[in-house]
Symmetry: C2
Subunit: 246 residues, 2 copies
Amino acid sequence: MSVSAALLVIGDEILSGRTKDKNIGYIAEYLTGMGIDLSEVRVVPDVPAKIIDAINTLRAEYTYLFTTGGIGPTHDDITADCVAAAFGVSIDEDERALAKLRERYTEEELTPGRRRMARIPAGADLVENPISKAPGFRIGNVITMAGVPSIMQAMLDNVAPTLEGGVKMLSASLSTGGLPEGVYAAALGEVAKAHPGVSIGSYPSFRDGGFQNEIVLRSRDAGLLEAAKVAVAACLAALRPDGASI
Amino acid sequence: MSVSAALLVIGDEILSGRTKDKNIGYIAEYLTGMGIDLSEVRVVPDVPAKIIDAINTLRAEYTYLFTTGGIGPTHDDITADCVAAAFGVSIDEDERALAKLRERYTEEELTPGRRRMARIPAGADLVENPISKAPGFRIGNVITMAGVPSIMQAMLDNVAPTLEGGVKMLSASLSTGGLPEGVYAAALGEVAKAHPGVSIGSYPSFRDGGFQNEIVLRSRDAGLLEAAKVAVAACLAALRPDGASI
C-alpha cells in the first residue's frame, strides 16, 4: 500500500526570495525515510483564498497534507484561520493551547498577539512545540506546523509516530564512471521499460567544468531493485570503451 | 501594472529529498529584483498528467510560467513533451537546436539520447545555454529551463531581457530591537490595516536560544512605503520599555 503526502509552504517571504525555504528538502527526505511518498509541493502567498483552495485540493488528493508557516502571533499569520475555513469548522482560543503558552508566558506576557497562537480549529489535535510552546495541530489528514525550521523539525518528530508509514522505498545508486548521459540515454531507457516496478532516474550535476552523472533506482521491492541494478550496471559496462564494469 | 509569475519545479529527485532544490530561492529573488511577482510555486513528480495539468493551470493564471528540470537526454526527461501536450502542438527535432548541439558534439557523438535534447515544441523560441549548449525554450508565456542550477541561471539571464518587467517592488526592513512578536503583534496589525498599499510582514527566526524578529515592508510606491515605515517605527518605539527609537 502506498501512503502519499503533499506539502503546502505558506508565506510571501518565500515567494519574494527574502527567506530561502529550508523545509521542503528536509520534509521530503524525512517522509521518504518513513515510506511516505511526498507527491506534490506548493508554495502560496499570504492570501486566504489561495491558501484555502490549496488546502482543499491537496487534502483530497493525498493521504496527508503538511503545511508550514503562518502560525505565529502577527496579523500576517493566517494559516489556522484558513485551515478552519477549509474544513468549515469554527476557530477559537483553545484551552489546551493556552495551557501550553502559559508554560512559557506569565498572564501579563500573554498579550492578544500571543493569545492568537492559541487559536485552533475546532476538533483539531495539538502537535507539541518543545521549543517555543505555541503548538501546531492536526485536523483530519492535515498537519499544520511552524515555518521556523528548528520548530518545524521538532513538530514533525512529534507527529511522525501518529502517521501511517507506507512500505519503505528502497534505493540504490550507480555512478556512470564518467560515461556521459548522451551515450547511455537510449540503452537506459530500454532498461527502465523492462523493469516497470523500479523507478530509474539519471541525475547530472555540473562540477569543475564537467558533468558528473548518477543513476538512481527506487523500488519498494528489494528483488526488483537488485535485478534492475544488475541490468543497469551491465548496460553501462557494455557502453564503456574499456568494457570495465561500473 | 503588476506582472506575475509561477514556477513549476519538475522532478522525482526533489520530492524524494535526494536533490535539494536550489532554484526556487534564486528565481524568487531574481524576479523580485525585476519587478515580477512570483506568486506560486509547485513541485511535481515525473508524471506526464501531473506536469501537463500544472502547466495549463499556472500558465492561465499568471503572466509567466517558468519550469525547471526534465530537459536532459534520458527517458525521465519528459518536460518538452509535456509542454507540447499542454499547448496541443507537435514536437520534433528542431534544426536550430540541433545546430546548437553540433557546436558541442561531433556527428558521431550526437547519439539518439543527445538528439532528444533538440526536441522542441512547434512554435517555441530557443533560450540559449552557454554552458552545455542544449537549449531551453519559450512558447507563449511558458519558459522551460534546465534543472542544473548553473545552467538554469544562465538561461534566466538570457531570457530576462525579453520579459516585461513590472514596477519594481521596493522594500524596507526594521529590526524590532529585541521586542518580541507577542508584544507588538496587535499594534502592528493596526498599522498594517492603516496602510493598505504596503504589505507588512513580521519574520521571526530562532537563533542562539532566542527569537530575532524583523519587520519587512513592501510596496511599489516609495511614498507609501516611507509613511508606513515611519508608522511602524513609531509603533515599536512606543512599546519599548525604555522608549528608545528603533
